[in-house]
């Protein structure tokens, strides 16, 4: 597996920017709910899209610990390395 936290984080940001409502100046340290104004359902739906791009499933209980874009990227890299 060649994904790194940086590459996954970049992919997440690219996907987020496809949504015109997301602020343009986001980076890996942005908090997904607070800074991007996502509600819990929007977060779950967005994660589903990322899952499909990277062919990974993030169990919902893992989402509870994720606040920033980099947290999500690290969690995905971790899941991929285990798999």
């Amino acid at each position: 597996m060649s994904e790194t936290v940086e590459s996954v984080s970049a992919l997440i940001i690219q996907k987020l920017l496809a949504n015109p409502k997301v602020p343009r100046d986001i980076d890996g340290n942005c908090k997904i709910m607070e800074d991007l104004a996502f509600d819990s359902l929007a977060v779950m739906n967005f994660v589903m899209e990322v899952e499909d791009s990277l062919d990974v499933s993030v169990p919902l209980d893992k989402l509870a610990d994720i606040r920033t874009i980099n947290d999500l990227a690290a969690c995905i890299v971790d899941l991929k390395n285990k798999g």
Binding site: D39, A42, M44, M48, S57, L60, D61, G83
Partner: protein, 404 residues
């Protein structure tokens, strides 16, 4: 000092603007008195009820009312404790037998509500090392049950067998048990689960399958056993959960299964063990309502005919109604600014429906959720359609003439 209530500030603001925009709080509607299953007094006016879950009208079943009265006179009005700690009454076992026989299953467990049935079954069955696969649009009780059981939760796209299959295949956990949970009819949109396709995936992958027939029990299937019966998928469904609070018109939940281990679930299920069991009058009324339902299959036919009439009416008006004809028909509006005045206008003109706002809706657009009953008359449905037309005109809601 931080206030305990500071987390409610956003909510208070949102509620405030909903009340300001429409003149009343849609979540605090008082039905002063039901006159029948289909008409109630709201704000002093006779109002057509199109926002209940009383699909067969059995909340007003004469047989159920009399059974409740007789049971209260004989057994008293409460059990004062849980089945496990304080004893089961013969009535509980009799109802469980009746439900199990209705579904042609080995046994049934009765819970105090449908919410607790989901909470209890899912948390008892799916523990820390197991995987749950939940439809993305699952009811809150399914999500809450998942959390209570500490299982690994994987969400798949709503009503998508392909997406479920992909996620099951992606998972590399040969030593974990897997439970798929879907609903027969989805309560907000009226969407019906493709049960036969889910059953095929369950067979191929060795997962277990649970279906919540809360809104489809008594509604779908030749005998009213739900979406699994309607699609010939019952043999592959390991657990059916459901509620008495909709088609049977009382309160309570259940799970039926052929797995003998259901008996052990009783001892490993906090929402069953640590709450009082249903009172005698509810048990008796539920059993009688089920007898009524079995004795009157024509109620189901009338329900579907009524659903078709309302659905066609919405289509003819050019409103954006669910594509599938089912007793739950959601009219989707584009913005909350349209939905709030429209809902209020409907109530003023004499129709009560449910207002559902994002994020509680599946696709971030607001819904007017309408539910049909077998006991609605064709004239009541026509009147409701006329009122929808009037309200849409009054509120400037665009209606596209559907090419038909």
């Amino acid at each position: 000092m931080t206030s305990l209530f500071s987390k409610f500030e956003g909510l208070a603001g949102a509620l405030g603007s909903i009340v300001t925009a429409g003149g009343r709080n849609p979540f605090a509607v008082v039905i002063e008195k039901p006159l029948s299953s289909t008409v109630g007094i709201i704000e002093g006016r006779e109002t057509l009820l199109f926002g209940t879950n009383n699909y067969l009208g059995l909340s007003q079943s004469k047989r159920a009312i009399e059974a409740a009265q007789a049971a209260a006179a004989t057994y008293g009005v409460g059990t004062t404790g849980s089945r496990i700690a304080n004893g089961t009454q013969s009535l509980h076992r009799r109802l469980e037998r009746q439900i199990a026989d209705f579904f042609k299953r080995r046994d049934a467990m009765v819970f105090s509500t449908g919410y607790q049935a989901n909470l209890g079954m899912i948390s008892a069955l799916a523990g820390k090392d197991d995987y749950l696969f939940l439809d993305a649009d699952s009811h809150a009780s399914i999500y809450d049950g998942s959390r209570l059981g500490n299982a690994q939760i994987i969400r798949f796209r709503h009503n998508s067998p392909d997406d479920l299959y992909k996620r099951l295949k992606r998972l590399d956990a040969p030593n974990s048990a897997k439970l798929i949970v879907v609903e027969g009819i989805y309560s907000m949109t009226g969407n019906v689960a493709p049960m036969a396709e889910f059953a095929a995936i369950k067979r191929e992958t060795g997962a277990y399958l649970m279906v919540d027939e809360a809104h489809s029990f008594g509604v779908l299937g030749e005998n009213g056993r739900g979406a699994a019966e309607a699609e010939g998928a019952e043999a592959d469904v390991d657990f059916i959960v459901g509620t008495f609070s909709k088609s049977l018109g009382t309160v309570g939940g259940y799970c039926v299964s052929d797995h003998p281990e259901l008996e052990l679930v009783r001892l490993n299920c906090r929402p069953y063990m640590f709450t009082a069991s249903l009172p005698p009058e509810v048990i008796a009324a539920t059993g009688a309502a089920l007898e009524d339902m079995v004795a009157h299959p024509e109620l189901r036919q009338q329900l579907m005919a009524n659903a078709a009439q309302l659905h066609k009416g919405f289509m003819d008006l050019g409103l954006n109604a669910s594509t599938r004809v089912s007793p739950v028909i959601a009219v989707t509006l584009e913005t909350v600014e349209q939905a709030i005045p429209m809902w209020n206008r409907l109530l003023e003109l004499g129709v009560y429906v449910n207002l559902s706002l994002p994020p509680a809706t599946p696709d971030s657009r607001p819904l007017l959720r309408c539910s049909v009953m077998a006991t609605h008359t064709p004239a009541q449905i026509e009147q409701t359609l006329a009122i929808f037309h009037q309200a849409a005109v009054d509120c400037g809601i665009p209606m596209q003439a559907n090419a038909a």
